[in-house]
């Protein structure tokens, strides 16, 4: 089982779209996949038309094992399950704060699924908190969507600094360009410079696409509804690259 997190400190960078599409592509290949929606906004659950189960409460992910299992929902797509978002994840930090070995609760609880799934994808909330720290511990690979702008560069440096601070392996971090608009000069320049500056930049680039925006209307992964769209192909390249990371 491999745990792959989609993480960004900034919102609106295509994180959820990436999580949904990449998880779908993994499942389509026959890998048993679980998408864990940790974002209290619940966007990835929304994309799969799954509502948060009533009364599943804050503590699900902390209690682990059977409690999590009970709340897992099968999506309409073969091999792909989802653990829907829970509004009360907002309070997760407070609870984690009082837990023992608080940075590793998520890691421990996800390990219960090592026989059930080949991949677990984590769609993470955009901030740095105790929840994020848990995510960093639990993930084998952390994918960071990166809009080619200077602001993103700054944010990414902050993340690296945080990793140093908590003595977390930066080798886990893999940024990739997201919402790329080639007609913009800035984007072109950043794409030119950044991969040389930052190690482990993935080759795949997700273009800005109205198809991706429409995912919210169609409420399905893009490669399932628009397989020929350039954005679908880009997600496919991204998944192949991530899979090869080993």
């Amino acid at each position: 089982m491999k745990v792959i997190a989609l993480y960004s400190m900034k919102g609106g960078v295509g994180k959820t779209a990436s999580a949904v599409n990449v998880a779908y592509l993994a499942a389509r290949e026959g890998s048993r996949s679980l998408l864990v929606d940790l974002d209290p906004q619940g966007s990835s659950s929304f994309y799969f038309r799954v509502r948060p189960p009533g009364g599943h409460g804050t503590k699900t992910l902390l209690k682990g094992g059977k409690k999590i299992s009970k709340n897992i929902r099968e999506t309409d797509f073969e091999n792909l399950d989802i653990l829907p978002a829970d509004m009360s994840y907002r309070n997760l930090d407070l609870i984690l704060d009082s837990a023992q070995k608080r940075e590793r609760v998520l890691q421990k609880n996800l390990s219960a699924f090592k026989d059930a799934y080949d991949y677990i994808f984590l769609d993470c909330p955009p901030n740095i908190t105790l929840v994020s720290e848990n995510i960093f511990h639990a993930a084998d690979i952390i994918l960071v969507p990166f809009i080619p702008t200077t602001l993103s560069w700054l944010t990414y440096d902050k993340l690296l600094a945080f990793f140093r601070e908590i003595e977390m392996k930066r080798r886990k971090l893999f940024p990739f360009f997201s919402m790329v608009e080639k007609r913009k000069k800035l984007h072109r320049e950043m794409i030119e410079i950044l991969p040389a500056e930052k190690k482990r930049f993935l080759k795949a680039m997700i273009p800005y696409s109205s198809d991706v925006e429409r995912m919210g209307l169609e409420r399905a992964p893009l490669p399932a509804t628009h397989p020929a769209s350039p954005a679908s192909r880009a997600f496919e390249e991204l998944w192949q690259e991530v899979k090869a990371l080993g």
């Binding site: 709340n71 099968e74 309409d76």
Partner: protein
């Protein structure tokens, strides 16, 4: 709620798709997919070996699936080009795991098809108000033409996490019977099987005498004969003839051992009909035994003695079998056989008229069993390795008589004790039976050898001479082993067992 999924629902009254959809709350809708038609049959041997060993075999069009009903990991599938309603031996399927597994369960028996179930099914999904699929399902219209049955069923598998929502919808559907599996639901549509037991276990009314008991024995075995007729005529597998024949022999034994009950004229007439039947069934059965043991025969002799001669010999056996089988078939379809059946029917119906004696059931059964046991002890004790073959044959017949009597009256005695005696006797009989098989075999082989010699067919002469030599050796070994087997059978413990069961000194 702890429910088994998928839910397999057989509706109590016929329903159509539209009616079904109307029962569902409006927030939900069905999305229909492809429809298909399949022709399904379930298969089992005549004596239901698959069912007894917890296997199910069914065909859907040309695909056969065999599985163990209590171990989901054990499932095998195979495709057969030509399928219909003809019974199939394991050998009819392509070589592989499926065939090996079926052969292990069905043995030499053919699997027979159930009436055909025609299944028109449409796959559909159940969507909630978010247009999220919560369950996948199949709607089925089923019909069994031969039984004039039609029914509708739905199979629903909720997606993970949507079990209780699905259960809520199921409760809104028209009333239905919930089955454990689709196969179970389908088989519930088929007519019930007439139970078949080749050796009927008979319960007697001990207040009645031996005459009604004898009638009961005869009726039960007459039924076994008749149950096997169809499979025998169709040559579905060799066991139909075997069971048919054994039932006849047991009837003959009952008539001649349990006496005097019937008027001698009546008894004589009935025995003669069975003798006449045996004239046709015996030769075919003997050839069946040889043909079934072909591989064993081949192993018995060195390779250089087999080859061409062996193939020719078995070719002759096959041709001979065909001829004799056709003669048997013609006999069973003849007026004469009809008359035999009518004779039996007549006697069994007007039974009391022919009864001349009706002794106490328990007393007579015990005295018969004691008498035959004693006779075996006496005759068997005289046998030496040098004794002529005929004496061994006679003893075999005696043992068989005792075996039949034990089985006829087994319910009069405590089950574990009586079964113990049957087991003891079986070991004893096995030795004598094998001895007899060799003798009959040698005699048959000699006949074939003579004709091969006349034709100067050296290949066959070589094979047959080798087979005779090996059979002779086998027979002599059994003769030597006999003494120890007799000693065990006639031992103190077994004598006490008989004494305990049937009373008196043994």
């Amino acid at each position: 709620m702890n429910t088994e999924w998928p839910a397999v629902l057989l509706f109590k009254t016929a329903a159509d798709k539209a009616k079904l959809e109307k029962k569902i709350p409006s927030a939900y809708r069905f999305r229909w997919f492809h429809a298909e038609t399949a022709h399904i049959r379930f298969w089992d041997t005549f004596d239901r070996r698959l069912e007894k060993k917890k296997y199910t075999l069914y065909s859907s069009d040309h695909i056969f699936t065999l599985y163990h009903t209590e171990d989901s990991g054990r499932e095998w599938g195979v495709s057969l080009k030509k399928t219909g309603d003809t019974p199939l031996l394991a050998g009819a399927f392509p070589d592989g795991n499926f065939r090996r597994e079926l052969a292990a369960v069905a043995g030499i028996r053919a699997v027979l098809p159930s009436p055909e179930i025609v299944k028109h099914s449409s796959a559909f999904s159940i969507l909630n108000e978010d247009q999220k699929t919560i369950a996948r399902a199949s709607w089925m219209v089923l019909s069994v033409k031969e039984a004039d049955i039609s029914a509708t069923a739905v199979v629903i598998q909720p997606l993970r996490g949507y079990e209780s929502e699905t259960e809520y919808l199921i409760r809104r559907l028209p009333p239905s019977a919930r089955h454990q599996s689709v196969e179970g639901m389908l088989t519930s549509l088929l007519p019930a099987h007439e139970p078949y037991i080749s050796r009927p276990r008979l319960e007697f009314d001990v207040n009645e005498g031996m005459a009604p008991a004898l009638r009961k024995i005869l009726i039960a075995h007459f039924k076994v004969m008749r149950q096997n007729e169809r499979g025998l005529l169709g040559n579905w597998d060799t066991e139909f003839l075997h069971d048919f024949r054994v039932a006849g022999r047991r009837m003959r034994s009952a008539l001649s051992l349990i006496k005097p009950i019937l008027h001698p004229g009546a008894k004589q007439e009935l025995v003669l009909t069975l003798k006449r039947l045996g004239r046709f069934t015996g030769p075919v059965r003997d050839l069946d035994v040889y043909l079934l043991a072909r591989a064993d025969f081949e192993k018995m002799i060195p390779a250089e003695m087999a080859g061409q001669g062996f193939r020719k010999f078995f070719g002759r056996l096959t041709a001979d079998h065909r001829r004799k089988f056709l003669a048997l078939k013609a006999f069973l379809e003849s007026r004469e056989y009809q008359d035999i059946l009518n004779t039996w029917d007549g006697y069994l119906k007007s039974w009391e008229k022919h009864v001349i004696n009706d002794p106490d059931l328990r007393e007579m059964a015990a005295s018969l069993l004691k008498k035959h046991f004693k006779k075996i002890l006496k005759d068997g004790g005289r046998l030496k390795p040098s004794s002529p073959d005929e004496q061994f044959h006679d003893l075999r017949i005696e043992a068989k008589k005792l075996r039949y009597l034990l089985e006829f009256f087994s319910t009069l005695y405590p089950q574990d004790t009586i079964q113990n005696t049957v087991r003891q006797l079986k070991t004893f009989q096995d030795n004598l039976g094998a001895f007899n098989d060799y003798s009959v075999q040698i005699e048959m082989l000699r006949g074939f050898l003579q004709s091969a010699e006349k034709k100067n067919d050296q290949d066959q002469v070589k094979t047959l001479s080798a087979l005779i030599a090996v059979s002779y050796q086998g027979k002599e070994v059994l003769k030597k082993e006999y003494h120890a087997i007799y000693k065990a059978f006639s031992g103190e413990r077994n004598r006490l067992l008989y004494q305990q069961l049937f009373g008196g000194g043994v």
